[in-house]
């Protein structure tokens, strides 16, 4: 089975580039040139230097001893939370800003939900002296105020998306509208493995450094490159795509993707796309997303703004459909429990997104002493307001 993107930009039946003609030229140019650019020696050298000295890679693969004792597996945490800006998002923005430079673009746009991708984009724009505009839903601007300030400190302009439900999907719509209006000087740094081909593949490649490192780090620690399980949370799915990437063809490695179940899968307040979604076309690709029978997009809910997206990237739709990855879901409450558990057992306060993956350690039913790698995609600083609100006894 082929799990990578094919020549036409599809993962099985999912993916493609379903875009209006206004975006055709930019997308076609990217499709024809992205691989040559990102595989060139000069690009790789510049990217690796930045990932090492600026982002702080390689991030540690940390053996979580007390967590392991509790569950009876050997649990390793891939510490993406230690990346500069606090999450894996910067792996992609570094890659895309270097690409944008080589495309001769001078203006960067991005969408953001929780603000992590917006901050990671604003960061690399400051680094590369590029004009940066971040679209963010009006609702998210209110609930993620510190990240709005961070983006502004970094020199970005944060533009509120006031259409639709005023959250991540609407910020994505606004960014696409901006790109339609500014095709010549602007590159759109999409933050997840979503959007028209080649974005899902490009973002997955930039994030694949996560699984590349896991392989050699595990070899050092365990004498073998392959774990038994890799677990990651999925909103659009960029951290999961990166954590799974170099294990896709290793059938002994079980891949577990954890979606946000919100108040419960069938509560009407959920983001569990593989259970609630159907195939359709949204934001330029064919994929699974939550929608009405008439094909209108349904607004998701998750306590975690980073998982609050109605769809998943086409690679994940295919991993789900082909059975290559097992999809689970964690409720808001389960994620909060996992936040507290990791804080108390390991002295690491995780992001709410990453806590969804941690929350399913109790359900994977792995044989004792299995090696389980959990991608700790981000740190919890940005969620402190939520934690203060939810943990009443602090």
């Amino acid at each position: 089975m082929e799990y990578q993107v094919d020549k036409r930009g599809f993962y099985g039946p999912y993916g493609g580039a379903y875009i209006p003609e206004m975006l055709h030229q930019n997308i076609e140019y990217l499709q024809q040139n992205y691989l040559d650019i990102i595989n060139s020696e000069d690009f790789i050298n510049e990217m690796n230097a930045l990932l090492k000295d600026y982002v702080g890679r390689p991030t540690p693969l940390y053996f979580a001893k007390r967590l392991s004792q509790k569950y009876g597996y050997k649990i390793y945490l891939k510490r993406e939370d230690l990346c500069h800006t606090g999450a894996h998002k910067v792996n992609n923005t570094i890659g895309q800003i270097l690409l944008a430079k080589r495309l001769g673009k001078t203006r960067i746009i991005a969408e953001t939900g929780a603000g992590q991708h917006g901050v990671a984009t604003a960061t690399v724009c400051a680094l590369m002296d590029m004009k940066c505009i971040v679209y963010m839903g009006e609702v998210d601007i209110e609930r993620q105020a510190p990240n709005v300030k961070r983006m502004r400190m970094l020199g970005a302009e944060v533009r509120p998306a006031t259409s639709g439900s005023k959250t991540l999907k609407d910020a994505t719509n606004e960014a696409m509208r901006d790109w339609i209006g500014n095709p010549n000087d602007t590159h759109y740094i999409i933050g997840s493995v979503v959007g028209p081909h080649p974005f899902p593949d490009m973002v997955a490649r930039f994030q694949s450094i996560i699984s590349e490192e896991i392989r050699w780090q595990l070899k050092e620690k365990e004498g073998k490159e392959l774990p038994d399980y890799v677990m990651a949370c999925v909103g659009g799915g960029s951290n999961a795509a990166g954590a799974f990437y170099h294990f896709l063809d290793e059938q002994t490695v079980k891949l577990i993707a954890v979606e946000a179940a919100g108040h419960g899968i069938h509560s009407g307040m959920s983001a569990a796309t593989t259970i609630l979604g159907k195939p359709g076309v949204l934001h330029g690709s064919k994929t699974l997303f939550m929608q009405t029978t008439d094909g209108q997009v349904v607004e998701p809910h998750s306590i975690s703004a980073g998982l609050d997206y109605p769809g998943i990237g086409p690679i994940h739709a295919w991993l789900f459909e082909s059975g290559r990855a097992q999809f689970m879901s964690a409720t808001d409450d389960e994620a909060l429990e996992a936040v507290m558990e990791l804080s108390r057992l390991e002295g690491i306060i995780p992001a709410l997104e990453s806590a969804h993956a941690l929350a399913k350690l109790k359900e994977i039913n792995a044989p004792a002493d299995s090696i389980v790698v959990v991608n700790l995609s981000g740190r919890g600083d940005k969620d402190l307001d939520t934690y203060i609100r939810e943990f009443k006894n602090l």
């Binding site: 209006p20 003609e21 206004m22 639709g164 339609i180 209006g181 949204l282 029978t293 094909g295 209108q296």
Partner: protein, 257 residues
């Protein structure tokens, strides 16, 4: 030959096409608006299928989509509304929308039901050209349905010619790099672009859309190409006169003509 092809056979200039979102401003407004448009001498109408996430549209059409969805407009409802429309309306009718609602309805059924209602053409801006040619063109042709493609100032001559070859209705010439309702100057850049399209001597007629908002902008477009499409400005006008739609339609068209 469908009504679009017949129209362009007898009329080459000053074609006026109007875009209106189905279900806006009220769920049952469409038949009234269509009648008033035909009576006012409009040449063609594009009926918008509402979608929750219209990425190529500006605020006015986004708003009309939201209102229409809120009003309960769906494809089954739209086809029910259009079932007997050909008893009253004889100008060409085109359905325009994003790909997802027809996909969920079932694309074959969507085409069948559109044809049964007397629809002449379809515009799905996010349906890729190659996918249309591979998967749908045969069915369109068999049913005498025109698929209408967009081109923009960035579309290369070669691609415009390819699109022309696969088209049999008209070419939708997006005036500039913008979403619908954008401010377009219609200065030299647009005029050069319209001339470029004209000089390609395409097989299909070409109508300009995006930014056409009044007589002046309509006349510029019609001077270079076969006519123009008005959406946002019409929708804003209807929105401003919800209680007297029929008269509002006529006023608007008279001001353009």
């Amino acid at each position: 030959m469908n009504r679009i092809q017949k129209l362009f056979q007898k009329k080459k200039d000053n074609i006026l096409s109007i875009f209106i979102t189905a279900g806006f401003p009220n769920i049952d407004s469409l038949p009234t608006i269509l009648e008033a448009l035909e009576e006012s001498g409009v040449d063609m109408v594009e009926i918008g299928i509402p979608f929750s996430d219209p990425t190529a549209d500006g605020p006015a059409i986004q708003y009309s989509n939201n209102v229409a969805i809120h009003n309960g407009m769906t494809l089954p409802h739209l086809f029910a509304q259009l079932k007997d429309i050909r008893k009253k309306i004889s100008i060409p009718l085109v359905l325009m929308g994003y790909l997802n609602p027809p996909m969920q309805y079932g694309f074959d059924k969507f085409i069948d039901d559109a044809v049964a209602c007397g629809i002449d053409g379809i515009i799905l801006p996010d349906l890729p050209l190659d996918e249309y040619v591979i998967s749908y063109q045969e069915k369109f042709n068999k049913n005498g349905l025109s698929n209408i493609f967009l081109i923009t100032p960035q579309t290369s001559d070669l691609r415009i010619q390819t699109i022309d070859k696969e088209s049999n209705g008209f070419i939708y010439v997006v005036s500039t790099n913008t979403i619908t309702g954008g401010k377009v100057d219609f200065e030299d850049t647009q005029k050069e672009y319209f001339s470029r399209v004209k000089n390609l001597q395409l097989n299909n007629p070409a109508l300009v859309g995006f930014g056409i908002r009044d007589k002046a902008t309509f006349d510029i477009a019609a001077k270079y190409l076969n006519g123009a499409i008005i959406g946002t400005a019409f929708i804003k006008h209807i929105e401003a006169h919800p209680t007297r739609i029929k008269d509002a339609v006529k006023e608007f068209i008279e001001a353009i003509r």
